[in-house]
């Protein structure tokens, strides 16, 4: 493989002992990398000197497929990008098209979008939490968080029929309205979740072993984050107050009250705390949205095969659980996009990873990757 020829190994003489750096391949299949991420680590003993990520194992040419797919038919493809927070991916795309074509969305649909999006944020963070604990060796929190996630996925199944790739959002609304009693079930779920949340908190947050493994590990400064284009909880943990729901609000977020947790050091522990707090804030958001849910139409109009968007281009972005997901759509006046580019948070985070794991041990690298929460589906597209 061409990559191997470009790498250099240096050997140093430390007094009498000659040491040599060697390459370790943390391969695409590995119980710790989130998805098919391959990292070539240049190591000096236990410490990582350099990290070269190799991505593309999950590349499916989604952007090229978009050029041959009608706008309204492309929504299922967006599910498969960041398959853990599929609702938000749908929203990112649908919002871009609506902004470009200036399509009105009924208020009930907007609120439903917020409810589904924030519930998906909770589900996504629960998965992240479980995987972080699992990578650090604690198996139990993984099962507890997945139990909570199952309740959310059950609700999603009632609404749209799917547990992971929802295909719920449509251009101009959502695909169907809520079944009967869904709101009550949702409120009961949130109440149950807030009762169980202290358990999840207790088992890790104050645990000496966990704190020792995450505090000070992988600290990134605000400037480095911005330079690499990191967004979302990674950026917020480094001390930068930036959340698209507040800074470039979309949908009905301006009408809902919530807070943005911001960290200080930008280490793994801060990223952990930021995401835990985001879960709480999302619960409050869903409760508010359920309360304010207006009556009316939520289902989007059926799109004809002739649906076209006027010429133009737009870059529109939303705050997914992982960070900023942006869609750059160039339209040539037809029914299919001329070019659709997806800017995903995980792609930038993986490049930031190379900076964050320098001079750390392998065990720390595992923790840092888990705290960045990359999803290869969206970084490879």
């Amino acid at each position: 493989m061409r990559i191997w020829h470009n790498l250099e190994v240096s050997s140093q003489e430390m007094g009498q002992l000659k040491t040599e750096e060697f390459y370790v391949n943390m391969g695409p299949q590995h119980p710790s990398t989130h998805g098919v991420l391959r990292l070539i680590l240049k190591m000096d003993g236990e410490v990582i000197k350099e990290c070269t990520p190799v991505i593309g194992y999950l590349h499916r040419s989604v952007e090229k497929i978009a050029e041959n797919t009608l706008y309204q038919s492309f929504v299922p493809f967006t599910d498969r990008l960041d398959y853990i927070s599929a609702m938000y991916n749908n929203w990112a795309y649908v919002l871009a098209v609506e902004r470009l074509a200036d399509i009105w969305v009924p208020p009930r649909a907007e609120y439903l979008r917020v409810i589904m999006g924030e519930m998906n944020r909770i589900a996504s963070h629960l998965l992240w939490y479980g995987c972080l604990a699992l990578d650090l060796g604690a198996t139990t929190p993984f099962l507890w968080s997945f139990r909570e996630r199952e309740y959310i996925l059950d609700l999603f199944e009632e609404v749209c029929g799917a547990r992971l790739t929802y295909n719920y959002y449509r251009i101009g609304g959502v695909s169907r309205d809520l079944p009967q009693g869904w709101e009550d079930r949702c409120k009961a779920l949130l109440k149950g979740f807030m009762e169980k949340f202290p358990e999840l908190d207790e088992i890790l947050t104050n645990n000496v072993i966990f704190v020792n493994r995450t505090k000070g590990v992988g600290a990134i400064s605000k400037e480095t984050c911005i330079a690499y284009g990191a967004t979302g909880p990674v950026l917020r943990a480094s001390g930068m107050k930036w959340d698209l729901r507040k800074d470039e609000p979309y949908s009905v977020y301006p009408e809902l009250k919530f807070e943005i947790p911001v960290g200080r050091l930008g280490d793994t522990y801060d990223r952990y705390l930021v995401r835990m707090e985001e879960m709480r804030q999302s619960v409050s958001l869903v409760e508010q949205a359920l309360e304010k849910l207006p009556r009316g139409k939520a289902k989007a109009r059926m799109m004809s095969q002739d649906f076209r968007i006027p010429e133009g281009e737009i870059y529109s972005r939303v705050e997914t659980p992982r960070g900023e997901m942006g869609y750059y759509i160039v339209s040539d006046g037809g029914g299919k996009p001329y070019r659709l580019k997806i800017r995903t948070p995980s792609f930038s985070h993986i490049s930031l990873l190379t900076e964050a794991v320098k001079e750390t041990k392998v065990a720390d690298a595992v923790a840092i990757i888990a705290s960045f929460d990359p999803v290869l589906g969206e970084s490879d597209r």
Partner: protein
């Protein structure tokens, strides 16, 4: 009760065997060696094996319950009936006990792979060395006042501690002979971990010796029957022994050598099938041994109210400690290698030394509850200084809302 069993059946048998041997005129040492093999293979090895099967089943059930699930349920003689589903807390314990048997059979049927350039005989004998180390130590475990292999062995539990150190050699053999740089690193790491934690392990037991004045297991139990269990007088030593045992047996949170999500897969990477099972058997046998030693030295061994025979009390205490091991395993994340070494040398060893000093002072002034005063003070100070998780989060994160 066992004394009567012993007197009625076993003693005449042994006498008859001995007199038959004397009759043949062969040297006595052969008789002793044969008897030794008979006891270790016929009594102790089955005891270990059956208990390990039970422990593995217990581990899967306990881990299941902690993780909000039921563990193996289907592989049993009789599957739990449907009506049990209304009482899952009870139903959990009625199923899946043949799972370990099924897993062992599966491992027996696996292909025996020895890496091509591995050091063949070292590779083959490494699991046996590790298992033998803990098997030898069972010679001294007092299962009851009459179920012992060796009576009044003066070296006592010092022999146990010495003999369990043997396992390090087996691990290094496994790591080296696999001809795999990751196995070698894993084996060396595991060896470093075990050697480091032996120091606080041994030091923590010195307090018990100081109170008893003797190393023999029987004397320690007799002293506890007079004084009360040593866990009351040596709580710090008990905690140190427990933590050091978790590290010695390579159990989580100290399981870096065996962890799947660490890059270095450990000394038993290249082992498959029954050889791999042997390592696991050795680990559980080690855990059983550590629990037995702790039960004898801190919880009074086989002593207990007479409505249950001594052996039953012993097993109850041992299984309680094993449950503690499992509880610790499924609660905590894994400790990083450098933290592990730091913790062993910089925290446990000084604490163990301090325990010896404190016990000496206690014996001098002949008062025994100073330890509890100390622990009470530590708990109080800890409470005053710790903050709740919510406060910690509020301190760490800055909230911004527009």
């Amino acid at each position: 009760m066992e004394y009567h069993l012993f007197q009625t059946y076993l003693a005449p048998l042994l006498d008859a065997a001995r007199s038959w041997w004397d009759g043949t005129g062969l040297p006595l040492w052969i008789y002793n060696v044969v008897l030794m093999f008979a006891v270790s293979l016929g009594l102790i090895a089955p005891f270990i094996s059956i208990n390990v099967m039970g422990i593995i089943w217990l581990e899967r059930k306990v881990s299941g319950l902690i993780q909000n699930r039921m563990g193996p349920m289907l592989v049993s003689f009789v599957r739990p009936a449907k009506f049990w589903t209304r009482h899952p807390w009870a139903a959990v314990w009625t199923g899946g006990y043949l799972q370990t048997v099924a897993d062992s059979i599966k491992l027996l049927l696996k292909e025996d792979v020895i890496p091509a350039r591995a050091d063949k005989w070292v590779f083959i004998s490494a699991p046996f060395v590790v298992f033998t180390a803990s098997l030898m130590a069972y010679a001294l475990v007092p299962f009851s006042d009459h179920l012992l292999s060796l009576k009044n062995f003066e070296a006592g539990f010092l022999y146990i501690l010495a003999v369990t150190s043997y396992a390090v050699i087996g691990i290094l053999m496994a790591g080296w002979s696999s001809n795999n740089k990751y196995s070698l690193l894993g084996g060396m790491r595991s060896a470093a971990q075990i050697i480091s934690y032996e120091v606080p392990l041994v030091l923590s037991l010195l307090g018990v010796v100081m109170w008893t004045g003797s190393l023999t297991m029987e004397e320690i139990i007799v002293k506890q029957q007079q004084m009360g269990w040593f866990i009351l007088y040596q709580p710090l030593a008990f905690l140190i022994f427990l933590i050091a045992s978790v590290a010695e047996t390579n159990r989580p949170p100290f399981d870096i050598p065996e962890a799947e999500s660490e890059l270095v897969a450990g000394y038993n990477t290249e082992y498959s099938g029954i050889r791999f099972a042997m390592f696991f058997l050795a680990e559980f046998a080690n855990m059983l041994l550590a629990s037995s030693v702790a039960a004898t030295l801190f919880l009074g061994g086989w002593s207990g109210p007479s409505f249950l025979p001594g052996f039953v009390w012993f097993m109850i205490k041992v299984y309680f400690l094993i449950f503690l091991f499992m509880w610790i395993r499924w609660t905590f994340p894994r400790v990083r290698v450098d933290h592990l070494m730091e913790f062993g040398w910089k925290v446990l060893t000084p604490l163990a030394l301090f325990n010896i000093l404190f016990t000496g002072v206690e014996i001098l002034v002949n008062r025994t509850f100073m330890m509890w005063i100390l622990l009470g003070l530590i708990v109080l100070i800890g409470r005053v200084r710790s903050r709740s998780s919510a406060d910690k989060i509020k301190e760490t994160l800055a909230y911004e809302s527009k």
